[in-house]
């Protein structure tokens, strides 16, 4: 078994193991759970880029992509965490099913 075939298999396994994190993004329940799962997927995408570089035998090019991707992922996570710090408390909570207030009738309907 060549290392290229092994890299393809390892990349497919990595992609399949990203699916639980994707399920966590869809399911929630809080916004911060989704951001953590996005962070995991972003880090693993940087690893997957280096696997692609090994498969095509161009690691010297793909390692730069991976570095840029890891940098952007870190910046995005920090920005999201700071944003949820500064909004009012309760923005990251599980949304409660509050009754929608009745719209006040406009003067035309009266």
């Amino acid at each position: 078994m060549t290392f290229e075939l092994f890299s393809i298999l390892a990349g497919v396994v990595l992609l399949l193991l990203m699916l639980p994190a994707m399920w966590r993004i869809v399911r929630g329940p809080t916004a911060l759970d989704r951001i953590v799962a996005v962070n995991v997927i972003g880090t693993k995408t940087a690893v997957l880029l280096i696997f692609i570089g090994v498969i095509y035998d161009r690691v010297e090019m793909f390692v730069d992509f991976a570095l840029a991707y890891a940098l952007l992922n870190f910046t995005g996570s920090i920005a999201a965490a700071r944003f949820l710090h500064k909004t009012e408390p309760g923005r990251g909570q599980i949304p409660k099913n509050e009754p929608v207030p009745e719209p006040t009738p406009t003067p035309d309907e009266l």
């Binding site: 390892a10 990203m18 399920w23 809080t30 953590v36 962070n39 690893v47 690691v59 923005r91 990251g92």
Partner: protein, 130 residues
């Protein structure tokens, strides 16, 4: 040959640890424990896989004079893994701190203290905390 085996061993161990992180991300009960599983497993598995692929780059190495660009690729891979070693725990800590400020409820066994109520005494979303 021996380089491929050592490199494949690192990659497989990294994937196994990422499997643990994925299972923890699905099955743990509250936000804090899920962040714990995701942060640790993600960091360690990324480091192991990147170090394994850096070892694999040594396969064409035939002396320093003609194949020194390979050492640059290895240095870049080590730089990426060091960057992730620093930044991934930082972002995990920032997200968990944001969750604590946001009063995300932890899951606690009965008769154990809830320290979130120590920090935020009236734990409803109507009070103002800055």
């Amino acid at each position: 040959m021996i380089i491929s085996i050592v490199s494949g061993f690192f990659v497989v161990v990294g994937l196994a640890i990422f499997f643990g992180a994925s299972v923890g991300l699905i099955r743990f009960p509250d936000f804090y424990s899920r962040t714990h599983a995701a942060g640790k497993g993600d960091t360690l598995s990324t480091l192991l896989v990147l170090v394994g692929l850096a070892i694999y780059q040594l396969k064409d190495f035939e002396g320093f004079a003609e194949s020194w660009p390979i050492l640059l690729i290895i240095a870049k891979l080590i730089a990426v893994s060091l960057f992730i070693l620093i930044t991934s725990p930082t972002s995990t800590h920032a997200l968990m701190d944001a969750g604590w400020e946001d009063q995300v409820e932890p899951t606690i066994e009965p008769n154990y203290p809830n320290h979130l109520e120590d920090d935020y005494p009236q734990n409803d979303s109507s009070n103002e905390i800055n």
